[in-house]
Amino acid sequence: MTDTTRGQNPLLKLVYWYVNTLDKYPLTVKMITSGVMYGAFVVVHFFFFFAPVGPLTTPNSQIGLGDLLAQVVDPLRKKEQPLDWQRTGIFALYGTIIAGPLYHYWYGNLNQLPVFMMKTRRLNQHVLFILLSVCPLNLPLSRSSTSASSERLNDWESPSLLTRW
């Protein structure tokens, strides 16, 4: 913890501590956070994606909420029905081992991707030009110079030419 946090609000201290730890161990902290979020709290993305109507009542929306919260606020769940801890555990595990690293690497490299695409655009244009214009013209021309009859070309060469194109 840094000296600037001394004597400050405990919540602010916690935030500083979290940010510092995140800075030191990005992947581990993201994995743990993601696990907790999936297991317990709200994941907004799925909430909006799957629940256009009646956000807390449709079965789909339960995917969108952190699993534990989804079970607690589920109006279809009976009062005496125990919480499904196994399901919560699965969601937490999924958040920890799959979602956390996936987000870390994807959003970590997303800044570089458009730059890379811009750099390779020229090459892509070149390849596309050859594929779409030169190849379809060149293939029939090269075949027509051989001794094969036009009927034979129509019968089984044309589909293969199309496929190749």
């Binding site: 789909n60 996936l102 997303l110 991707l113 458009p114 730059v115 695409m117």
Partner: protein, 64 residues
Amino acid sequence: MVVLTTTTKKKKLHKKQRTHVLSKVLLDQLVFSPLYLVVFFYGTGLMRGQKFDDITEHTKEVHT
């Protein structure tokens, strides 16, 4: 004249930034999101001990 050049440069930079942000959003929504949904459904399904075909059927049934 100098001011004009600077303004043009700034505009160009701004446009570049906008394109960069837009392409990032597009990449995220068109490339990552569909793949992530597949990973999510199959990942959680497999962790529950379901078979591949069962997950496909269940996803079709509930989410289409």
